[in-house]
Symmetry: C3
Subunit: 426 residues, 3 copies
Amino acid sequence: MPSALDTNMRFKFSILALLLQVAIIVLFGIFVEYETDNQFQTLHPLFQDVHVMIFVGFGFLMTFLKKYGFSSVGINMLIAAFGLQWGTLMQGFWHMDAGKIFVHIESMINADFSTATALISFGAVLGKTSPVQMLILTILEITIFACNEHLVTKIFQATDVGASMTIHAFGAYFGLAASLVLYRPGLKNKHEDEESTYHSDLFAMIGTLFLWIFWPTFNSAIAAHDDRTKAIINTYYSLAASTVVTFALSSLVDQRGKFSMVLVQNATLAGGVAVGTCADLLTHPFAAMCIGAIAGIISVLGFHFLTPVLASKLNIHDTCGVHNLHGLPGVLGGIAGIVVTAIQSKNGKGVPHTPGMQAAALGSTIGIALVGGALTGAILKLPFLGQASDKNCFDDSIYWEVPEEEKLHAVHSNNYDEHSRFEATM
Amino acid sequence: MPSALDTNMRFKFSILALLLQVAIIVLFGIFVEYETDNQFQTLHPLFQDVHVMIFVGFGFLMTFLKKYGFSSVGINMLIAAFGLQWGTLMQGFWHMDAGKIFVHIESMINADFSTATALISFGAVLGKTSPVQMLILTILEITIFACNEHLVTKIFQATDVGASMTIHAFGAYFGLAASLVLYRPGLKNKHEDEESTYHSDLFAMIGTLFLWIFWPTFNSAIAAHDDRTKAIINTYYSLAASTVVTFALSSLVDQRGKFSMVLVQNATLAGGVAVGTCADLLTHPFAAMCIGAIAGIISVLGFHFLTPVLASKLNIHDTCGVHNLHGLPGVLGGIAGIVVTAIQSKNGKGVPHTPGMQAAALGSTIGIALVGGALTGAILKLPFLGQASDKNCFDDSIYWEVPEEEKLHAVHSNNYDEHSRFEATM
Amino acid sequence: MPSALDTNMRFKFSILALLLQVAIIVLFGIFVEYETDNQFQTLHPLFQDVHVMIFVGFGFLMTFLKKYGFSSVGINMLIAAFGLQWGTLMQGFWHMDAGKIFVHIESMINADFSTATALISFGAVLGKTSPVQMLILTILEITIFACNEHLVTKIFQATDVGASMTIHAFGAYFGLAASLVLYRPGLKNKHEDEESTYHSDLFAMIGTLFLWIFWPTFNSAIAAHDDRTKAIINTYYSLAASTVVTFALSSLVDQRGKFSMVLVQNATLAGGVAVGTCADLLTHPFAAMCIGAIAGIISVLGFHFLTPVLASKLNIHDTCGVHNLHGLPGVLGGIAGIVVTAIQSKNGKGVPHTPGMQAAALGSTIGIALVGGALTGAILKLPFLGQASDKNCFDDSIYWEVPEEEKLHAVHSNNYDEHSRFEATM
């Protein structure tokens, strides 16, 4: 009995996924060739670091929800594995040579990067969308991302080595716009499953730490060879500063002075996002630390004050708080890029980037992300895409076989409650 | 009171392990010298990637069982730490120079590889064997592996860069043959502890993801320098295709369209296994994707239809389903190698490998693995090797000190059940 | 109502952390410049490996306590992120050039190393100190460490490539001395929360394995280029030997022959610590295996026999057993360094290190660590630093927001107990 809330996607999902995979293989057969470059020694370790961030970092970061770990780490894997193929094509079409797309290690790094946009948006809608919806979002978002990336780097000639704008801000605002369009009044009051457990918070720290550790690689992987060391050093110290500031503010905003795992899992990473645009341009490490410290402050304040307001006033429900980890710090990164290029132009350093073009890049990125995300959200609203009912949100068991024990546990809990009530009436 | 089911292996295990370690140190003292090569920059990152796969990848992949995580990750570590020393000697004896074995970074990669065979076989017998049995299996399997590897690469001159045949198929069929000989009728009906919990499935995903991420390194680590990039690219896209196909088929084979963690944890990796033999030979990325997609299909169908039949009809109980992750995809990889060398020979590409020799390599590998595994299983059947009773299978507490809380928890559950019965009779 | 046991550190912690971060940024602004070296290809992968060890390795290793995982992995991150900035300055002040500290990838590896001392000491006092106390300890310990490191390497001209003495023994004895001064009679009887659960032990294995896997990098990262391969090979085989020996002895010291997770999590790593000083000097792999095997024996015996005595007789409570993982194997490493330099001096190999200076380095390291740790402990005893009461030790909820579910669970357990008592009196 198919209905608007039919979440059995046996044929919808499998046929869509198989068709997409076949289409990609055909397109690869027509367009894609190898290019063996001589940068193996340098790029291969960078590629593997980024690969860890995409699959382990993003995947486990989202496992903080108590009943949504399978989806977080599993659908993250699906999006990334599908997206890296799609991203290879979408980015490749902008750089064809004699009608062919040439893949090499750097293009694999870029393909991994392209999936990060969809994974960030996944964080905004986590728990509220079906795997079919996420496949569609991935196709649309990576396509639009590749266009915007081309606009930013080729038309505007803007610099964004660590992709503060083109990945982080883009992914966040795309996801937030989609989340707005997909808004469910039924989730206005906090869903009982939208919370963590002790161990789910520890699983999430696996994701946080691998993102944190390899972020210097992320921000330097596509830098010019001579600037790579600087990009790594700047990211290293920016992250360190944002981490100390995050702990400080996490304690400060809590009445009992207690740390919050949400903040430690997320705001500690804001320094990596914010230093991305100008990681290879800064000329003093302390500037990177300032950017990191400000990013930490903005991110903590965003989680503490802004996210609740976005949800209650603007109907933007952001499950993972991607606005605070990727959105605001990404914008900060874009602004830092404007300021740094302005200073360096003024000093006559002969940088090829202008503050005006940096500003255009930031503006176009946010604008395209918002419009693209809203349109995507409208498409995902189609009623046959397997979306869960409000009641079943944030629960793996809609889309996954879940171990029996958990079901028994649920029964037990019910018994227990009944039993307690029984006692209470004795 | 020693008996056939005495699982206290205090002296048996410790004396065996210490004797083996002393023997290995003596053999190293006689035979092993350093060789400092000039490939440090290239090989060291590859070595560390493989090292992560062996210890974290294989170790956590097997933690899916609810009460067998200590053994999975712990005995995995023991087998690998012991096996890499033994593998250094066994592989080294085939490549001696002036009576000496020279170790360098590549030989450490190969030593790590050799342990993978025993770790794969461990997956087939997981939960049913004692640590003493696993030490003996490791010695025998790595010894036989080194002989077969020599036969395949030196006598047959076959190519198997990612070791689809010599490691994956070998390890799987060796383990399955051992499992057949060790068959226990008492486990015919599914053991109540042979299942996962929500968090044990998440721990297993740590293993899956690190294997998935570093598989491109696995398949390229011992490739010729110029072919390494190609091997990495092929493995990357093969894995991506097998992952998308795995999700599609996982949904398709379930009546409610739900994904299965068993499949996501395992079949997603089949593309890495299957593309191994010809990762450096393929000349188009789409061919790698085809191999990956077929591997995903075979692996899912194997888990869904074949594993239950093997257990019920052929008395082959395969705890982790290594036949579907390593066996069938390994054979597929071997066949792909035959086809690719046939095509390239026909095109006169002057490859040094012939399809006939590739077929001989595949056949000999499976044959030697089956015979070797069966003989090893017969030895492991000796009644004083500390094997657990049927009832105590899949339970860490036989061989490990387990936290008190768990025992209390078990007591609580019993109390609870009694209590429920008590209520029911009120 | 502030009191000696006021653990609300809202203002104390946040103001201290922010002031320190601002001070560090100012100092970086005055002193720190980039130096782009041409060793990027070699050093970057080594840096990232060490970075994983510091943040994931040490962080998760300490998550074994059932209610202290947030602090273990979170405060580990705080100490390391703060410490690497402080370490950059403290180590840099000893190597200034024209009044400037030049940072490059090697100095980031060294900064990471410097934090390891504080993380090891954290293990000794884990569960008994506040975040404010840990910040202060980190400042003091890294400052003293940098002085001792200068003394050992520049004044004594001693060799300690893998830092068995300057990091491992130093961090352990510093922490033990602090723990002695901070001794609490109220914890004489084992605290009920000072134990693991099944899953907390698995989380700890994440830490163990990443430390184990990347230890070859740790011991070779700052070696001379030509000695790096040798240092890696020696560490690889030393760890393997200590792992096999640890399993053997773990079974042997238990009456039922069962393995202990405490030993597998820790003593398996002792081989990496002990081979550190002479990893680049040994001339035969079997010598590294002998050192690893002895380290495994010492470490297991230390955990089994010595730690209980230290706690009961000497009032030194060592939560993680850092004495057995870092202290004793570190001393063993120092002694091995003396022996190896003595043999090589005798053989006229012209090594620049003398056994006398190695002995002086070992002695000064332990002495300075003990005095520095005791003084630090005395400072941490100041009654307004937010230390938890004896009853609240080993419990995250004093310093962290902990998920509701856990609190409910605690309430349930209480209800349950009352209920059981109720039944018993029926």
